[in-house]
Amino acid sequence: MQSLNLTLSDVVLNDSSDLLTRAQARDADAFCDLCRPYEDRLFRQAAALCGDEALAEDLVQETLIEAWKSLRRFNGRCRLFTWFCSIMLHRYQKMIRRKRPVIATEDALATIRDERPSPAVSSETTDRARVLQQHLDSLPHKQRQVVYLRFYVDNSLEEIAGALGCSVGTVKSRLFNGLESLRKMRALKDLNLEL
């Protein structure tokens, strides 16, 4: 009788795996249905990266098209959302290289926050968010990927390794170097404030 007691997550997993199989067989409708549960989360992550809703929309669309093209390479070593985020970081890197305005401006962040029914956000919080985003953007691409997936997507190191196609040792090394870089940037910022 225990085998009949399927949990909701089991049902969702079964449906997702069926959708994934059909999407990998180039069924565009199955792919769109597969992406639906992740669209909002992906959009929030993109908005945090870009600091602008219009850019976030473009970034999400580019991410999902890229995911569609390379869906056959998804090997299940990580969650689908993690894989989407790793693609999104790669597209974000290309966006930075094209020198589009991606650094979160105070006005853009304020616009995003003001439109929502949320508690008032102090300017200090906005400044801190902007500084953190700038620090993230200053990291080398490979370190940024690992730091972002660890802290912003809350993935384990094994899952990050699966998403990036590298070993756990490599992920640990990049995470450590990323934290060291952030620590130095933070120390420099504190020194500037003191001066």
Binding site: A28, C32, Q61, L175
Partner: protein
């Protein structure tokens, strides 16, 4: 004071992963520099965790779904003519390669053709001509003398035969 190089990475990773490391904990109790380093790493991790929690809870616009469907359709349309063309070109290449291999001469019927030799004929000089003639005359004389020597032997035969009364 700088943290201990041996423990620095382990400290950072144990904090970032949120996993306790007994050896690291023991060391932190004894080393002030490493404790200060651990505090810095904890501050960075908590700043970013706080930043994540303060991200606006916005939803993706509905038009994103429609744009994605349209983009996927365009992508498929772009590839729908490309694949048959590439497949056709590949097939033509393979067939051409096969026909070329079939028409090329076989290994057991090798025809060796000597390369044409260019014979350089130098125009003879008059001196060379005279030299050649003089050598020719000498060679002729020697040949005749050999003949004469051979002839004397045959003369003996003649004489013997004449003695026998037969002239040949």
């Amino acid at each position: 004071m700088k943290p201990c190089r041996k423990f620095k990475e382990r400290i950072a990773l144990s904090i970032a992963e949120g996993e306790s490391d007994a050896a690291v904990q023991e060391h932190l109790q004894q080393c002030a520099a490493c404790r200060a380093y651990a505090e810095e790493i904890r501050a960075i991790c908590s700043e970013h965790a706080q930043h994540v929690s303060q991200l606006p809870q916005i939803d993706a616009p509905l038009r994103l779904r429609a744009k994605l469907r349209a983009a996927l359709r365009d992508e498929d349309r772009r590839w729908s003519w490309f694949r048959p063309v590439v497949a056709g070109a590949l097939a033509a290449f393979v067939i051409g390669l096969y026909l070329h291999w079939r028409s090329s001469p076989k290994e057991n019927s090798v025809v060796i053709v000597a390369p044409p030799r260019k014979i350089k004929v130098a125009e003879p000089s008059y001196a060379a001509y005279r030299n050649h003639l003089s050598r020719s005359a000498e060679e002729l004389e020697m040949a005749l003398s050999r003949y004469d020597a051979a002839g004397s032997a045959s003369d003996e035969v003649l004489k013997v035969s004449s003695r026998n009364g037969e002239v040949q």
